[in-house]
């Protein structure tokens, strides 16, 4: 249990840092969805199945779709890396 939590937390924080560091914004949105997905597993481990289901459906699914569609609408959804070094 403890090692599983350790693995999930490390992966989640790594994905969170990637959200800020990845040059490609589409990849950053994907990393944000990964954070939400791992977070929903953590919620399930914390005996909160309702919250886990919400986070998986809303955070990982809907939020990613909204952000990706927004990127397409903004014309930033290309493969080409953007000069956005934070």
């Amino acid at each position: 249990m403890a090692w599983l939590v350790l693995l999930l937390v490390v992966l989640m924080l790594g994905a969170a840092v990637l959200v800020l560091l990845l040059d490609n914004l589409v990849a950053a949105v994907a990393a944000a969805s990964v954070v939400s997905l791992l977070l929903s597993v953590l919620f399930a481990l914390l005996a909160a199945p309702d919250v886990a289901l919400t986070e998986a459906a809303v955070g990982a699914g809907l939020s990613g779709a909204v952000l990706a569609l927004g990127l397409r609408r903004l014309g930033l959804a290309g493969i080409k890396a953007e000069d956005d070094h934070a």
Partner: protein, 222 residues
């Protein structure tokens, strides 16, 4: 310079929050309100899922506020985005995508309504199921952009569902109770038809959220 200052700020924030979190009674929360709700909810509300009892019965007016915020956000997003006109720059999708969405549509619809209608028994409820319903309609919209459901239909479902939620609350008020107080017979704990008006409230929430989000996604995808 900017980078170093920001790094210092982040580290300082982390240390500050860690210091605060170290004083939390982790794993042994006092649960002043929680214990009371856990003791009374099965008898008072009759829903097997206590979180649903809290969301729809004890904090029902809060959920109404949540619906109002979601409605305002979706409406404002639609207003800001404006109407992209009828330029269908992407025509019909390929055969595989269309067949896949046709197969997926009834399955997603079933799962969505299952999650909505079992919200008082199992994890899930109107918000989660509503998102799944929106995904079902959005998938079929992606496969057939020309066959999008009319704006009027979406607004009608959304408005009727919202009115139903408030109407159930007002019916409780008219019956001498408080606003959004659970109505009807509580039934047997753990059965599908139980917990009074809670399944009806979650059905209204699910339809409203589903219609709202499907409309928002379709507008963003235009």
């Amino acid at each position: 310079m900017h980078r170093i200052a920001t790094l210092l700020f982040a580290l300082g924030l982390g240390v500050l929050l860690l210091g605060l979190a170290a004083q939390l009674p982790l794993g042994a929360t006092p649960m002043a309100i929680g214990n009371e709700i856990l003791a009374r909810a099965p008898g008072e509300i009759g829903a097997a899922n206590i979180v649903t009892s809290v969301v729809l019965a004890y904090r029902g007016i809060d959920t109404l506020g949540e619906l109002a915020i979601l409605f305002a956000a979706a409406t404002a997003a639609g207003l800001v985005l404006g109407h992209a006109g009828s330029r269908s720059r992407n025509g019909e999708a390929g055969f595989i995508l269309r067949t896949g969405s046709d197969l997926l549509f009834p399955l997603l619809l079933t799962v969505g309504f299952y999650i909505v209608l079992h919200g008082h028994l199992t994890p899930g409820g109107g918000f989660q199921g509503g998102v799944v319903l929106a995904a079902a309609f959005f998938a079929s919209f992606l496969a057939r952009p020309s066959h999008r459901p009319g704006h009027g239909v979406i607004s009608l479902i959304e408005g009727l569902a919202g009115a139903a939620f408030i109407g159930i609350g007002l019916a409780a008020l008219a019956g001498g109770g408080a606003f959004l107080q659970p109505l009807l017979d509580r039934g047997m704990l753990g059965e599908l038809v139980s917990a009074g008006s809670l399944p009806l409230l979650y059905l209204a929430v699910g339809l409203k959220v589903g219609a709202e989000l499907a409309g928002l996604l379709a507008q963003l995808a235009e």
